[in-house]
């Protein structure tokens, strides 16, 4: 596992926006086709319904919506780069990010896709932090957008119940270390030796070895969380809000148990939207900010795990975002 430690400017979160499709696919909608009950799905995932974009809505459409909202809630400064975390780009070529940047009125800035699956947001944060620390950019728009249901066999009970669609975006700017919104050291790791645990081949459906994925997710997110908290100089007991990737409510519960956190420290936002892949952490941050579970000054520990295998963790002291900003962010 690696993390950067340098003396350049810190990356400070200053904007947040989301794109949450209105449509929901409920357990009742899918349980018949899977040969299980709605309660079976709920008990194994914690999910009651999944967010689903309307027919014809692309990853770029979701990314543009979230990105535009984040830019409106940011500090209004010029964005110098765009990183789009996605494993469901609209085309094999070109990447989705340049088109998103153009639609956001940002032609000309560096814009690229970053594929780290459900850990994509944390990888994108590290790339943005690197740009800022190296003074390559003063302000970076990070968008996490995924439409994993487009990869899923609707009759596969190991994957079909899990995934929703959505996007979320953060604006990060150059600032001082330790300031509200400043990211602490970001821990990232990958191990391709176990990559076949979660695979979507070209032209094929996503497959997942469930028990192995569950075990790895719990172990890796727990390890990364401990490392990120230590790197930030925090004890786990100091964490006000723990925000794991929303893979499955029972994975979250197992990580909370392993880290000996209180249930009240962990934020959950999976019941109504499902596992939204790279977007799940910022969607959870936005929802919790809007409903009061996440407040300015809270010490936040984020962690994720996904295909690759990839995993990571990061810390941030949550910044003050105005109530109107938050309302805008979660519309």
């Amino acid at each position: 596992m690696s993390h950067s430690d340098n003396n350049g400017p810190a990356a400070v979160i200053c904007g947040l926006g989301t794109a949450r499709p209105d449509s929901r696919v409920t357990n009742e909608d899918i349980c018949g086709g899977l040969g299980v009950s709605a309660a079976w799905i709920r008990s194994r995932t914690g999910i009651a319904s999944r967010a689903r974009a309307a027919h014809g809505v692309s990853t770029a459409d979701l990314a543009v919506q979230a990105g535009a909202r984040a830019l409106r809630t940011g500090d209004g400064g010029r964005v110098d780069a765009l990183v789009l975390a996605t494993i469901t780009p609209d085309h094999r070529c070109p990447a989705t990010a340049p088109g998103v940047a153009a639609r956001l009125g940002l032609p000309g800035i560096p814009a690229f896709d970053l594929a780290a699956a459900c850990t994509g947001l944390l990888y994108a944060l590290q790339v943005a932090a690197g740009f800022i620390a190296a003074r390559t950019a003063r302000r970076v728009l990070i968008i996490a957008a995924d439409r994993i249901p487009s990869l899923v066999n609707p009759q596969d009970r190991a994957t079909a119940p899990l995934f929703g669609e959505g996007a979320a975006a953060l604006v990060v700017r150059a600032g001082e270390r330790g300031a509200p919104g400043a990211l602490g050291p970001i821990m990232l790791a990958a191990d391709g030796r176990d990559g076949s645990a979660i695979v979507a081949p070209h032209g094929g459906f996503l497959t997942m070895r469930g028990p192995e994925t569950f075990q790895q997710a719990v172990t890796r997110m727990s390890e990364a969380s401990v490392s990120a908290a230590e790197a930030a100089g925090w004890r786990l007991a100091d964490v006000d809000r723990f925000v794991p990737h929303q893979a499955n409510a029972r994975i979250t519960a197992a990580v909370v148990r392993q880290l000996e956190l209180e249930d009240s420290q962990a934020l959950q936002f999976i019941e109504q939207v499902g596992n939204t892949s790279a977007a799940s952490i910022p969607l959870t941050l936005a929802q919790a900010s809007a409903d009061g579970r996440l407040l300015p000054g809270h010490r936040v520990l984020m962690t994720a795990f996904g295909a690759g295998l990839t995993w990571g963790a990061a810390t941030v002291v949550w910044p003050a975002l105005s109530p109107s900003d938050l309302k805008e962010a979660v519309q």
């Binding site: 194994r44 469930g210 028990p211 192995e212 569950f214 075990q215 719990v218 029972r250 148990r257 392993q258």
Partner: protein, 74 residues
């Protein structure tokens, strides 16, 4: 049932009053994911149990025997 297994199941928030010793695991609320969760808890105690071993325990009685054997031999 051994105290070890009961403690593990309580840690998984299963109600001891609902546990059915000789019946299929699902009757006690121990679903396939709970077996994975159990393997994670056993791992924390220094005991590695494969998914195949866990899947072979189809009743609480068999699971109890397997867990007791593995914990005593760790």
């Amino acid at each position: 049932m051994s105290r070890d297994l009961e403690e593990l199941l309580v840690e998984l928030k299963l109600d001891p009053r609902e546990l059915r010793f000789g019946a299929p695991l699902e009757d006690s609320g121990v679903d396939s994911l709970a077996l994975v969760e159990l393997s994670v808890l056993l791992g924390e105690r220094g005991v590695r149990v494969s998914q195949e071993e866990l899947a072979a325990a189809t009743t609480l009685e068999a699971l109890d025997r397997m867990v007791a054997d593995r914990l005593s031999g760790r």
